[in-house]
Symmetry: C2
Subunit: 224 residues, 2 copies
DNA sequence: GACATTAGTCACATGACGTGACTAATTCGC
DNA sequence: GCGAATTAGTCACGTCATGTGACTAATGTC
C-alpha cells in the first residue's frame, strides 16, 4: 500500500511475501498507481511511533489476508538503485503466507510465480533476490517450511515444500531420516488418499525437546 | 566520528569493528563527546550521494587505520531502543581489522576486549551482539578468519582465530582435517620457531578450485 | 487379478566428526 | 651432553550422518 500523498520518505519498509502456488513459489505484488502493467513489491513508510516490524506486519496484513505466518528482516538496501519511492534506503522484510492464501480481491494485489515476475525497479529486484537467499539460509536454523503448509500435511508435501524453498530436489529416504532426527513432526491418526497410489499418513508440526545443542539439520541431500 | 552539528538524522550507519587482541576479540569504540567515560560504537549519517557501504568504509577508515579487511551489513535496527543519535533507525555493519592494528592515537578511539566493553546505549548493545552473531554465522560460508591474520600464519594461530570467532575450543586433529578438505590454505617453505617447542610451518591463504558444490565446512568440533 | 502409482522402509557404502594417543622437533635446566 | 618439558603435526579407530538403490505396502485402473 504505497501511500502517494507523502513525497520521498527517508526510508521505506518493503515486504516480500511468499507462498506456494502449485509446485512453484510465488510472490505477492501490488499494482503501481501509475502505469497499468507495472507492479511493485508492497512498501510503505514507517508511521510515527511504529517499529519497523510493526510496519512490515501492517503492510502484509493490508496486502494479503491476516498476519503472515512468519516475518523476518532481510536487511537494508540503497546504494543508488532506483526504488518506486525514491527513498534513500529501504529495509526489506521477508514473509510467508500459508499455501492456499487467495489473491486478495480487487485486482490491486496478485501472486506471481517466480518465473513470471514482471520487471521491477532495480532495488526491488535486488530485494526480492536477497529475500529468497535469506529464506534459504534461515531454513537450516528455523523450521520455516511448515509456515507454508496447513496444520496437517503428508511427508511428501513437506518434502516438496523444502524442495521449493531450497530450489533443489531431495532424496526421500534421506529427507525422512533427517526429519526423524530433528524431532519436528508427529504422526496423526489420519490418512489421506490422493486418488491413485497408497494413502499417505498425515503429520502435524510438533517440535519436541532437545532444542539445546541441536545442530542445524543439514539438508544437502541431493537428487531424487 | 559522530558529527554533532547535524541534529537527529533519519538514519545512521554504525560500524562494529573487530580485531584480535592477544587471545581475545576486541571492538573499537569511540569516546562520546559528552561525558568522559562514555563510549559509543562509531557511527555517522550518510552523506549525499554516498552509498551505505561507502559510509561504513569512511567511518572505519576514520576510526582505525586503513580500510577494514572485511565489511558486511548486519541489518537495520530501531524499534524504539535508544541510540546516541536519536535517529529512528540505524544500519549496522560489521568489519574486521587485521590483528596488530594499533589503537589510533589521540585517545578518541580505543579497542575494548569483549569482556571489558562499557555500557552502551541499548540499541548499540543490540547491534554489537547481532554483529558478533552475524560473523559467527558467516564464518561457515566465507573464510573470514583469514582477514584477522597476517599473510603468513601457523595453523595453530589460524585455529586460535577460529576459536576466538566461534567462541569455543576446537580439536586440533579435526580442525586440520576439515581445513584440508576445504582447500583453503597452502604451506610455504618457511617455518617459525616460537621459543620452546617444535617450530611450526607457515601457511598462506590460497583457496583452490572446487568452489562449486563446496558445502560449507562445519566446524562444530568440540573441546580441546 | 495384473499392473501402474504412490507411500513408506531397509540396508549398505561412503564420508564426516569426535577423540585419544602417538611421533617429531625444538628449548630449558642441569 | 642429556633428559624433561613444550609445542607441532599425524594416525587410527569408533561413531554418526549422508547418499543411494532397492525393497515392501496399499491403493486405483483396466
Amino acid at each position: 500500500m504505497p501511500d502517494r500523498k507523502n513525497r520521498r520518505p527517508a526510508c521505506t519498509i518493503d515486504v516480500v511475501l511468499l507462498t506456494a502456488v502449485g509446485s512453484q513459489l510465488a510472490v505477492l505484488l501490488c499494482r503501481a498507481p501509475e502505469g497499468r502493467d507495472k507492479w511493485v513489491i508492497p512498501w510503505d513508510a514507517q508511521r510515527p511511533a511504529e517499529t519497523m516490524e510493526a510496519t512490515a506486519t501492517r503492510i502484509a496484513k493490508a496486502a494479503s489476508i491476516g498476519e503472515p505466518a512468519w516475518l523476518e528482516q532481510v536487511g537494508a538496501f540503497g546504494d543508488g538503485r532506483r526504488h518506486p519511492s525514491d527513498a534513500e534506503i529501504s529495509v526489506a522484510y521477508a514473509g510467508l503466507a500459508p499455501m492456499g492464501t487467495p489473491s486478495p480481491v480487487g485486482g490491486v494485489y496478485a501472486w506471481f510465480t517466480l518465473s513470471d515476475v514482471p520487471q521491477l525497479a532495480p532495488r526491488q529486484r535486488q530485494i526480492l533476490d536477497s529475500a529468497l537467499a535469506a529464506i534459504r539460509i534461515r531454513m537450516d536454523q528455523s523450521p520455516v517450511a511448515f509456515r507454508l503448509l496447513p496444520q496437517m500435511f503428508t511427508l511428501t508435501e513437506l518434502q516438496q515444500m523444502y524442495e521449493l524453498l531450497l530450489g533443489k530436489r531431495l532424496h526421500k529416504a534421506s529427507f525422512r531420516r533427517a526429519l526423524q532426527a530433528a524431532w519436528l513432526v508427529e504422526p496423526t491418526d489420519e490418512w489421506r488418499s490422493e486418488g491413485r497410489g497408497r494413502p499417505a499418513q498425515l503429520y502435524r508440526y510438533a517440535p519436541r525437546k532437545r532444542r539445546p545443542a541441536q545442530r542445524g539439520i543439514r539438508l544437502d541431500l541431493l537428487s531424487s
